[in-house]
Symmetry: C2
Subunit: 451 residues, 2 copies
């Protein structure tokens, strides 16, 4: 029985996460407790000032992992012991009792975002909000970077399935989050087993070159070794398996694969060489051998551009590694966690600066009747923009946490559908892989001048 | 009391890590158990075929984390439940009893590496070695990517201290490993508290713009807010603290900082603008105010090139975020885990291919009498190269694990000294930040032809 239930999405389930934090959050807390400002009401906002160079949209990810980690943001004895090295008694008492009791609003996970989109807003005392900065940003920056790159690959694949297989190119825990983010963005599954256990991401994969090399026997030929390996794999996994045919010679490998498994062979995988040319040759060879329904899986340094370049070739599935887990050139989403309101007063660093906008905000997305989006509007809470004739408006900001308790649906499947809907809502230019401006402009409406 | 003892270096201490694995490792295992090849003696080697584009050396990192995680590579009930969905009973029995009992050799952590350097060799049955592929590569690829980038920054800083503060730009657990890797490479410390708890990395940092903004009071001026924030920080942390002076206006910020803390103020931090120009202006202003020993910390999108560009400026410390935790353009080290020997027979994918070299190997580094290295020699075990006149040879490969038990010194401080020694051993060209070839060539000596 496969246990593919969707487990907790937090960092590592059940472990305290409070020290996944920058020291300055606790020294600020200590100073704020001492002068009494710690209990002022604060709103911190997570947003990206800009998209990675040339990107046209981003995919919000990390929301569920953060919300599920929140109850584990507690300072246990080991954490308090460390903190006692630099914090005073009042701060220690505060942290010993810490739990987040505030509210969180934001975009549902999987929603597209653009520059300035307030993907998360955290409300509470300054003290309870300030300590969440690093954890929130780590989760949003990594997961959104992977999901945003993965969505481009899903678009480039034009409906063909993609497998995430980059675990080995990422930190071992980041790999689990990357598998989840890629699946969220529309990948079919991942090689990562922990991602299946923890998040219900379907685990996929069959064999590596090592398995063929393992069947090396002195005095026999490479083709003998390869056939022995294929036979062992088919015996264990059935003819529906995927055989890796490029350990020695691809033409011989394909012939060996069909000779061993028969024309009902599920798939062959090619992991090297000019994948476009090889896919065509292998398709022809498979068809000639009667293996007309045997699929072709390609892998090996694929990114969204290489995937797009293979759209005219007889490729049935892509295996993607390094590029997806490293955000395909943008390994972090560049989101920031900024204090935007204190006791109802909008605040911002250097008020003349255009990049930071004070005040608690919501967002609304305008679209044509066809569903194609035209504008992202970020506006003060309770003051949505007028909807121009012929357009529809959709509120993007939803309640995520109330009084410290998650209130949103954190389901990964729903988030996955949201990404698919988002990609369909983009104007055509927004799906282009070439560098360009964000697919739609963001309009920032400042809070009304205060009297 | 600060509890800065060096904790376990594994993934997340005490947690099982067996599912941080690609599914194909277990399907290969199942097929190999079925046809009896699972018990053949195997050697897998971890190496990088090439360095990231233009890099001149790499820094080996991840060794201690892997060795400390090895005892936790066990299949508990939750793991077995998941595996039962696709593995047969024999495989289940094997995994239920799994523990690694083989040997591991490799470079000590912190040693430089070059293309083809066998940084890790894992020996045992095929079955016990094949399942470690993903975990080993995840740890080596991430940690080495960060350590390699960090070492370039340490070189660029020319002896000035560096603080790693990029936790928020990386997956929350990757951030802990990144802090460790940066410290290993010579950074002074990190903002990350868990890295102090888990690895003994000194935690540093004082405050963010949010703390100044928190002191916003309607009816007062920005300078009043800023002074109130500085006063609170100095009251809590003492005059030796670092005050962040660029929330509103830097000149006013510096004046406020010295007015509040006095000329004994520890440091000011500048996080935006043209850091070189600002550092000069701020130094002059501080000196004029009598704060001649107040240091200047700069941060904000620094990478090794920006750090080098500031060497002529009066900067006392660098805070580095995004670029170090993302490997400064190379977020993964590109290492692979390849089967190189089966029952004493050297094996390799496509024998004509130059990039993969069969057979169990050790490495030796040749240097001039001055200590400057000249060549990396990778050779069959027990068959070291002749040492040319005037050169010295140093064996790089050491025993790391024997019969499943770590036998090497895994100390982070020793690894840190090894990086520093390695950087001193590079030829001058090897320290250049510009793109170029590896600092020394790698010579691969093939195993003697077998009879």
């Amino acid at each position: 029985m496969t246990s593919s239930t969707s487990g907790p999405a937090g960092s590592v389930p059940g472990l305290p996460v409070a020290l996944l934090t920058d020291k300055y959050e606790l020294t600020m807390l200590a100073a704020a407790l001492r002068d009494g400002t710690a209990h002022r009401r604060a709103t911190f906002e997570v947003f990206a000032r800009r998209l990675p160079a040339g990107r046209r949209y981003g995919v919000t990810a990390g929301t569920a992992r953060l919300l599920e980690a929140l109850p584990h943001f507690r300072f246990d004895d080991a954490a308090l012991d460390l903190v006692s090295g630099f914090c005073d008694d009042e701060t220690m008492r505060y942290l010993a009792d810490y739990r987040f009791t505030g509210d969180v609003d934001g975009y549902p996970e999987g929603e597209l975002y653009f520059p300035g989109s307030p993907v998360l807003s955290v409300h509470g005392s300054f003290a309870e909000c300030v300590v969440l900065e690093t954890l929130a940003l780590s989760m949003f920056n990594f997961d959104s970077a992977v999901a945003s790159a993965a969505a481009r690959m899903v678009g480039a694949a034009g409906g063909r399935p993609l497998i995430e297989m980059g675990s080995r190119r990422a930190h071992e825990q980041a790999a689990v989050a990357a598998a989840r983010a890629a699946y969220l963005a529309g990948f079919t599954g991942s090689s990562n087993l922990e991602a299946q256990r923890r998040h219900g991401v379907p685990a996929l994969g069959t064999s590596a070159h090592a398995f063929t090399l393992l069947h090396t026997v002195e005095g026999q030929q490479q083709s003998d070794w390869e056939r022995a390996a294929f036979r062992a794999q088919v015996d264990a996994l059935g003819v529906e398996t995927t055989l890796l045919v490029d350990t020695y010679d691809i033409t011989a490998g394909v012939a060996n694969a069909v000779a061993v498994a028969g024309p009902q062979l599920g798939a062959v995988r090619i992991d090297s060489g000019d994948l476009g040319m090889l896919a065509g040759q292998v398709r022809e060879q498979l068809d000639d051998l009667g293996a007309t329904s045997t699929r072709i899986v390609v892998s090996g340094d694929l990114d969204e551009f290489a995937i797009a370049a293979l759209r005219a070739e007889p490729v049935d599935m892509y295996g993607v590694g390094t590029s997806v887990v490293t955000g395909s050139g943008a390994p972090t989403a560049g989101m920031v966690y900024k204090l935007v309101e204190v006791d109802g007063i909008p605040v911002e660093k250097r008020s003349s600066h255009k990049e930071s906008h004070g005040g608690r905000k919501h967002a609304t997305r305008l679209a044509k009747a066809s569903g194609t989006i035209v504008e992202e509007v970020v506006h003060p809470v309770g003051d949505p923009p007028q909807t121009p004739d012929g357009l529809t408006a959709r509120a993007l900001t939803v309640p995520l946490v109330r009084n410290g308790e998650p209130v949103a649906d954190l389901g990964l499947e729903a988030a996955r559908r949201r990404v698919a809907q988002g990609l369909r809502s983009l104007p055509w230019d927004g799906l282009k892989l070439s560098k360009g401006d964000p697919a739609v402009p963001t309009r920032m409406i400042s809070p009304a001048a205060r009297g």
